[in-house]
């Protein structure tokens, strides 16, 4: 297993599966993430975009080691060049690796938000928290309110503050922006950008791909539990011709400002994954080869793609 010292987090051939009861006592394995590759370097914002239910949040839980007991993680997880074991995950989470959870239901309903954001840190970072709240445009009394007294967007900003108050080297933000107005979302991402420029790293799981284009360095596109493409953010700004995988192109075209056209069909369910390329059932360019074997990851034009049909000829695009 090769190890790179310049990476902060490296995932190699990661797979996550769940043991489920079928009928009576018979169990079956359900694989929800398969051969996933992802690297995060210091000073970088890596955005993870992709379909709902493609395992983006599970990836966050796998890195932090907070999956339920019936889950099995296989593959290699490296943090700062060393294997990320269960003990190490437990030691690092909350201090070295911080999470911004996806749901506002993660806030303790019986605890005032100010105290929640401060956490168990001694001395209490009250002044820093107040500055952060003010920066996010939260009114001064927010710290004295309970979560149910906040609007959706305010609760999000409180959640975000809880992670930002730690001195974590890696922040995993699981959809931090829904419910926030565009200005607030931009402010939140500006904070992430500052952290990244300071040498820390952010793994940003998001559906707001237009915001991700602007702030992230690289974008990993997820589909059915694996990455189909990792591309520099600039390629997404340029449009479908600069992108490599047909699914990334479809994502771009479904944006309200670029056509709003969905593609037919649905993401395959984990019980019945296709044998070959996971995107083949919906792909207009599939061949027999695509349906038989899973395409390997290839490096093309500074990005990585899993697709047989993409050869990179004629200025890079033979699949439209």
């Amino acid at each position: 297993m090769e190890q790179k010292t310049d990476t902060l987090l490296e995932l190699h051939d990661l797979s996550v599966s769940f043991r489920m009861y079928e009928r009576g006592a018979s169990q079956r394995e359900l694989t929800v993430i398969s051969d996933l590759h992802l690297t995060v370097r210091p000073g970088e914002i890596v955005a993870v975009a992709g379909s709902s239910g493609s395992g983006k949040s599970l990836l966050a839980s796998a890195i932090l080691g907070i999956l339920p007991d019936n889950a099995t993680v296989r593959g290699h997880l490296h943090y700062k060049g060393e294997e990320l074991t269960a003990e190490r995950q437990q030691a690092l989470r909350g201090t070295e690796i911080a999470l911004v959870p996806q749901s506002v239901a993660y806030l303790d309903p019986l605890m005032k938000t100010g105290a929640q954001a401060d956490g168990h840190k001694k001395p209490r970072p009250t002044v820093r928290r107040e500055q952060l709240f003010a920066r996010f445009g939260l009114p001064k009394q927010t710290g004295r309110l309970y979560p149910f007294q906040l609007s959706g967007g305010m609760a999000r900003r409180v959640l975000l503050s809880t992670a930002l108050l730690t001195d974590a080297a890696l922040i995993i933000a699981d959809e931090p922006t829904p419910g926030m107005s565009t200005e607030q979302a931009v402010e939140a991402l500006t904070v992430f950008r500052e952290l990244a420029d300071d040498g820390r790293a952010v793994l940003l799981i998001t559906h707001d791909i237009d915001l991700a284009f602007t702030f992230a360095d690289r974008i990993a596109v997820f589909y059915a539990g694996t990455t189909v493409e990792t591309a520099p953010a600039a390629d997404f700004k340029e449009g479908p011709d600069a992108l490599r995988h047909p699914y990334s192109k479809a994502l771009w075209r479904a944006l309200p400002q670029n056509g709003f056209t969905p593609i037919d069909g649905f993401q395959p369910v984990a019980v019945r994954l296709p044998a070959g390329c996971l995107y083949a059932p919906r792909c207009p360019h599939k061949t027999a080869e695509c349906e038989e074997k899973v395409p390997p990851v290839r490096e093309i034009r500074g990005g990585e793609v899993r697709c047989y049909r993409f050869t990179g000829k004629n200025g890079g695009c033979d699949v439209s």
Binding site: G50, S52, Q102, G152, G179, T182, P256, P262
Partner: protein, 198 residues
Amino acid sequence: MSLNAEHVFFRYGRKGPWILEDRSFHFDRGERVALLAPSGSGKTTLAMLLAGYLTPQKGRILLGGAPLPGKGACPVQLICQHPEKAVNPRWRLEKILAEGGPLRGELLDALGIERAWLTRFPLELSGGELQRFCVARALAGGADYLICDEISAMLDVITQAQIWNVLLAEAEKRGMGILAVTHNRHLATRIADRIETL
């Protein structure tokens, strides 16, 4: 028949700040309105008032000149921002869907709801998958107005386009009025005839 909020005042608790002060709002059947406003400005509160989940301290909510009916399925249906909070965690999804009315196969297909999900519990589905159930539940009855409170913020853009296309087609067919609360200006201009701010 139109849905009106007339000089509505609302605050949480007896001493809280006014969330909505002397606010009026009007929309007709067949109209598609988007509501764009900063977070914390009372969008969700207005949505809940219009759907009858809250009652204003002053002012009235009128549907075709009469107050919202207190019995039966409400003709104004609300789809919430957080689907995980809008379903009973201890019910299977079948039962959750049946609350709205009889299941319609073609609607489930259009929304991309797998039949296998029907026997699962809400915790076993992702937010995006759950939101499709909430949309199906709201469309199952005979609603005349649909209030969509940031329903697609947690969805990927392809699913967002799929769900909105289904919703808009259904609204067109039944002449429903749609109020979409959103932060995304691009989405607002794409789906609405009229954009309102708070």
